[in-house]
């Protein structure tokens, strides 16, 4: 697993207080929102803050977030492209 993807999983678990999950529980392609990981709209906003704070990327179009935050994989690819 690439370092960025691992790092993202660790960050998400910590920042979103996913107390019952560990890095091994999140697959790169799992849907972050919906049944698999179960994030909600506040988590999405928190991820927007994380992108800006930790990676210097500002998501200006909230609709864009939906695609970017589909999975760890889409998020990692977005960061790799924009960082």
């Amino acid at each position: 697993m690439s370092d960025l993807r691992l790092e993202l999983k660790e960050k998400i678990i910590k920042q979103l207080n996913l107390e019952d999950l560990s890095v091994e529980d999140i697959q790169n392609d799992d849907f972050l929102f919906g049944d698999e990981i179960g994030l909600d709209s506040i988590d999405a906003l928190e991820l927007i803050v994380m992108l800006e704070k930790d990676f210097g990327i500002k998501l200006t179009d909230p609709a864009q977030g939906k695609e970017v935050f589909t999975s760890i994989e889409t998020l990692a690819q977005f960061i790799e492209k924009n960082a």
């Binding site: 909600d40 709209s41 506040i42 906003l45 927007i48 803050v49 909230p62």
Partner: protein, 378 residues
């Protein structure tokens, strides 16, 4: 059970420091919204009360420097309302304060007042001290329905004869605290907000204090009775409104039940209409489920911004005025249908014969509020 009425009121806002000035400004279609810049927020639009004007207005009251901006706003509003009822012993009156964040600006390092001042009971004590009240005012802090809920609380305490009258005052500030918070929610509009409109981008925050006299004694002219009220929680999400409008639907249903009237008897709706994508959509769904899609409706948020704990009270006062003057106010900022269910938006301020009005509000924590007002005809 005793009947409960709304009587005289006072509004302190950027649009004026009396209800009369406010009504005139809204009639003329004026908005309190202005552009501001902050190093942390960039450009934003909000409705702020000028400190200089407030100071000027406060001059004839006592000891101005001892009070914070919000306290001054609230004192001004209450003083005027109380003025008309000097003969009534204070023991017969319950004082209720509605606010979400009170003197939250006192938490900032640069604020001259101590951090202690940000505590809500402190705010109650300042008002108690100023007006020499026998009891500390009750404080309602229930997100964006606070101002309306406080009137419901007054109604219940009058109905069960704990008190005969109430002064309800609602107030909140435009603070860096709330601005940065709503900004982190991506909820702030880029320009002046456009409630229920297609291209709406979010809210503006505004500041205001509003006060009203609530009483068991029927006013001589144009008596406006509170005939029903309720709150209901969505039980869905702590910040996002319910997709089905369940809580709002329930709160209106329950208010109708108490009033013993049908939804079709409502002549006018003063909606919450914050101009966020999800809130306005939720309201349109709830009003449709209630069969209220043809009832004239407005949001006052483009005049004042979202004045948080004051908003439901400020807008309730405007509903009272609408009933008394048989006049509906234009839903400023509305351009074109922006909700999946169409509503009967009020697009011009005009004369309209009215008897029953519905005021609603919804807020964080999934709370929803509804209140029905009826004009007693002779």
């Amino acid at each position: 059970m005793r009947k409960v009425y709304l009587e005289n009121h006072q509004i302190v806002s950027p649009l004026g420091s009396t209800s009369q000035e406010n009504i005139e400004a809204v009639t003329q279609g004026k908005s309190a919204m202005q552009s501001y810049h902050s190093p942390f927020m960039g450009d934003y639009v909000a409705g702020k009360i000028s400190e200089i004007k407030l100071q000027e207005r406060f001059k004839r009251l006592e000891n101005a420097e001892a009070y914070t901006k919000l306290e001054k706003m609230m004192i001004l509003a209450v003083a005027e309302v109380l003025q008309a009822h000097q003969e009534i012993p204070k023991e017969k009156i319950v004082f209720i304060i509605a606010t979400t964040k009170g003197n939250v600006d006192a938490l900032a390092e640069e604020n001259p007042f101590s951090k202690e001042r940000a505590k809500l009971p402190q705010l109650a004590k300042r008002l108690q001290h100023y007006f020499k009240l026998p009891e500390t005012p009750i404080v309602v802090s229930n997100a964006c329905i606070s101002g309306g809920l406080a009137v419901s609380v007054a109604k219940k305490l009058i109905q069960n004869k704990t008190y005969d009258h109430a002064v309800v005052v609602g107030g909140d500030l435009v603070s860096e605290f709330t601005l940065t918070g709503f900004n982190s929610f991506q909820a702030l509009a880029k320009g002046v907000c456009e409630p229920f409109s297609k291209d709406r981008t979010g809210i503006n925050i505004g500041e205001a204090a509003a006060a009203v006299w609530v009483t068991s004694v029927k006013p001589k002219e144009e008596a406006i009775e509170i005939i029903g009220e309720a709150t209901a929680n969505d039980a869905n999400h702590i910040s996002g409104p319910s997709r089905t409008g369940e809580g709002l639907y329930l709160s209106v249903q329950k208010a109708l039940q108490e009033a013993g009237i049908l939804a079709s008897e409502i002549d006018y709706i003063s909606a919450h209409g914050t101009a966020t994508l999800f809130n306005d959509e939720m309201e349109s769904i709830a009003f449709h489920r209630l069969g209220l899609q043809h009832t004239p409706l407005n949001s006052l948020k483009a005049y004042y911004g979202h004045t948080l704990g004051a908003s439901a009270l400020l807008e309730l006062i405007f509903s009272q005025v609408s009933l008394q003057e048989n006049r509906v106010f234009k839903s400023l900022g509305y351009k074109n249908q922006g909700t999946s269910k169409a509503l009967n938006m009020i697009t011009t301020t005009e004369h309209k014969s009215l008897q029953i009005a519905l005021k609603t509000a919804s807020g964080f924590g999934g709370c929803n509020f509804a209140m029905l007002l009826k004009k007693e005809t002779e």
